[in-house]
Symmetry: D3
Subunit: 237 residues, 6 copies
């Protein structure tokens, strides 16, 4: 089996994370997973949604967008037509994933909004958003700790995400766009820095998959998120 | 461990499927999974979406809704505020699941729309919709075969779905609303009549879960969908 | 003159009202007028719209919807395209009709929302919604009286509704869909249990009608609503 | 009984109709019913809605609007918030009323859009719109006849409309805003130039009304529309 | 060069301003600039937008609309499709222009909404709206002064507006629709009664223009707004 | 007078233009004007809007957006609330400006969409978008010429844009955000590479400005756009 990208079956694309790319945001980074590039910013607001007021707890939420020519064919701007169901599904996934890292009671009545804006897409934008979103969130909380807004760290564990799929009958790690378009199954795994599973989304595109295949995909994802965890750590030094 | 419903950890709620409940639809049923009741209708249209014209292939799609007082507290009507991201996510899941059963080339340029309208909700509405949606789809295609619109059966396998979760530390089958609200994890499994995995959606609500727990959930789902497959078969006799 | 339904000119369809069909709603019923089936639920909320706060008075409002395949040809879901003018017109009619039964001062600052969801349509859905909506409202208020939330009954009179029309030149009672599509005029009458007129809506579809014809339609409506009043009473025992 | 307007119970407000007030429209007028002022324009389009193409028949439709300060308190602009259900209900009533005057086959595949824009409101805007809308429509069709676009007159009868209501227990003709706000019932009658009933809309605001009262309202409406018919005739000379 | 309107290059259309045309509004006028007719109303509200509360300052804002057949070809009603970008741009221009006349601190926490509704259009609707809007605003503030709601005049200067353009190579004053459609450039000037420039909007339609041409357009605008200032003064006597 | 940026009154911020930053777009660049950063992409589509079909002419249009944290305080995402009037006004300005450079007949029936997405904002985003948008457009057309889709260059002149304003009573070039917030007037100038004026937008924020001041602003803009023209030229080598 040869992947279009010539990568080994268990080889991720080159990933880089550049921190502090935005002069306004409390935390930010530009994550590049091969040709997929996402700007992640974390914005701190000193109030929580109405239904949380008075609970003493904070909130973390995420939004996701693409510039129109992030993709091979220009997509209509969502500001013109409203957010698609796909976009809403993705941003809810990012939000859930990042919330799983945070002790909301320790955060206090603060809301952090993580925006993930894809400026170039080549597959795996939702998983890159989670991995980069964590870095932006971590940087924003570091700032709050440094400024004595927070006194104890609300982040309990790091998180990263990767996709795996079955391409030409073989489980492979980190699908790019061409591979994804031809994969039989596309699975996204969100895994913490201590190996806990936060989210599994496995979808058979045409042919149902077997439990054995699913286990192989999971093992690849564990390898990938271990590598991402180290890249996140380096970016945060 | 005692479940609020007093069921065994691997015991589903009582499920019934009443076929042909709608005088207009080509296929329809009322599925009751305990107190969760869903009307499923399959509507046949003799044309496909624009992007499929001329391909010789058909399409199956799904929509999902709830009447406002399906839930314990009345929800605002989506006709007034638009479909939520949750609704869009669910109906895309139902559509993908049902499409996995169908050979679109054998269906020909026909579109079948499966509507799943929840008239009473008590947890597990999306999985009930898939299980009942399959029966409505099967009935509609039976009608097309009988009327000689189709000459060979486009359905290649049956499909059903069930949720599992970790309640009080124990993996359990088929969460009702009270259990779901207190579960640590909520996973939905869509599995074909031959045991193929069509979709896995596992979400840790508060605490990440371990690979071992995930395997236990999967095994419960296999037991549950085997039982649902038999109930579907009885309803279609 | 022969009606397509083979009914006499002054003969209603068979009507049944099954109370308490919904486990969550304070009041509910399933009304069947021939093949027109509507689920009516009454939801009690302990606050009124902003403009009524502090007046000491309550409010009753109604909403109306159809599942997409309630009709012979599947209609697009209103959650996707917004409520049509027809829907808004109907739900305002239902709301006005039900409010005419209630002494708002005796209700106190409580809001009751009556939802009428058509699960199968064969003509006369708006009048069936009023007739069934009254039963749901009555049941909800009975519950409030029993639970000592209310101490005196705010309902001053019952209400029901029926359509009449001129079919093949003859005034007839209770048009079904086929008759309605071919009627020269379609009139809806909302009449209280004591014979007061709450609402008259008469529309000439193609040919204007005469005052004499209108009187004949009115007399049929009086007969029909007298029968409906008795069916409501039986359902509420 | 004294009406706030000091009019007799069967006395209409002063009505004037100024034809041809708009330089662009094929037909237009400014109708003043007391302080209610409506600009009516009829716009001819040489194509019909899609569902009518090839039928050889034409179509007449209406739209209704108010400038924001037409009313005592400024209303939010509908261009900002969308058309209300009330607006949609009114414009459908105007459209149905005007269509009842026209033989669509004789009109041919032409669409006439009648816009009724209220520039000052003091009650009775929907009935003024119908009465003025007929004049605009008549003028537009006169132009088509004169220009030999049409060869035989598609208008079969004139139409006008008036409201009546029960004020302080007495049936009165042509409610203005103050009377309307305090009336027990508000009924709108659309009646042709030959006395045929096109539309009756009777609504009890608080107290149901009796059949006798309804007959009295109807008789007042016949008197009023007879007077309006003559004012329309004068404006069209 | 001959203008289609046969006017001199520096000749405005005949302008009339009729004050107090609306019975409800605190200030109103009907401005006619040739065949362009606009109803302007000023509505006083005793509260300001949320972000201004407690500042002690007032606010003036404007909205703009057209009835559908104001134009040669009927335009779709904005209440049906939402306000276009063009409409929003125009109403923001009118608002900015009128605010430039007012000392908000002297106005106090009052909001004045100026609505400009075009009932017939023949070019120059936005500049007519500013010129007429000023008169409506002035009348509303006169009323507040007379009623002792205000004690010192918040209006510091008058304002009016005119368009100029290059037609057949020659700068001309006050373009009507036919001229505007064929002009190489269209510039709008908003100028105070003391000659201060409030707003300049110059757009080359096809060919960029030179600084010299721009100066000529400006000089024409000064002449035009001087004339408009006198017409405003007469209308306010 | 000291500018907050310590720049001379006629000194622009440092401007850089990096071409070809997007792997998918036919033309693209990242323009940085100080801390204002905009990604510009030009997307070629081989069809024109419906109203241009068959004319043999092409079209150039522009869209504008900001990521939510481009600004000091996070703005709500336009995909969630729709495009504001400000956004529509800006994108129409960009589109008009770019169209002024192009001979549409020579372009042929091709549509080029220029997207300007602000990833960091510090004042002057609309003028940076025009200056960068021209470069993206030029690169896309170069590609079409190289690929022999076009045979003669449809671009007739370059274009760039800059803002000027009166800060502390002195006309200054190229306002950044802090200066803009405190300027008495804000003017945008769009000027071609041959000195033709394409667009002038001058707005007095609080105090009207004089003709002399306006001339000074214009002269600064000429200096600024001359410098931008050279930076564009360098980026396109």
């Amino acid at each position: 089996m040869l992947r279009p990208s010539n990568r080994e079956f268990d080889e991720m694309r080159k990933v880089s994370i550049e921190p502090n790319v935005n002069m306004h945001a409390e935390g930010s980074c530009l994550i590049k997973c091969g040709n997929t590039h996402v700007i992640c910013t974390a914005s701190v607001e000193d109030h929580v949604p109405g239904w949380m007021k008075g609970t003493g707890k904070g909130w973390v939420t995420a939004e996701y967008g693409m510039i129109p020519r992030a993709t091979g064919t220009r997509m209509e701007r969502e500001a013109k037509k409203g957010q698609s169901g796909r976009t809403e599904e993705i941003q809810r996934l990012i939000g859930r994933s990042l919330r799983s890292c945070v002790d909301m009671a320790r955060l206090g009545e603060i809301c952090i909004k993580v925006d993930c804006d894809v400026i170039q897409a080549d597959g795996g934008t939702r998983t890159a958003s989670i991995t980069g979103g964590y870095v932006a969130l971590r940087l924003a909380i570091n700032k709050l700790l440094k400024e004595k807004v927070l006194f104890s760290d609300p982040i309990v564990v790091s998180v990263s995400a990767i996709s795996c799929g079955i391409y030409n009958g073989t489980p492979v790690l980190d699908l790019d766009y061409v591979e994804d378009s031809n994969a039989q199954t596309d699975s996204n795994f969100v895994i913490t820095g201590r190996g806990g599973i936060v989210e599994i989304q496995g979808t058979a595109e045409r042919v149902p998959f077997t439990p054995e295949q699913f286990t192989q995909l999971y093992n690849l994802a564990v390898k990938g998120t271990n590598e991402l965890k180290e890249i996140q750590r380096q970016a945060l030094i």
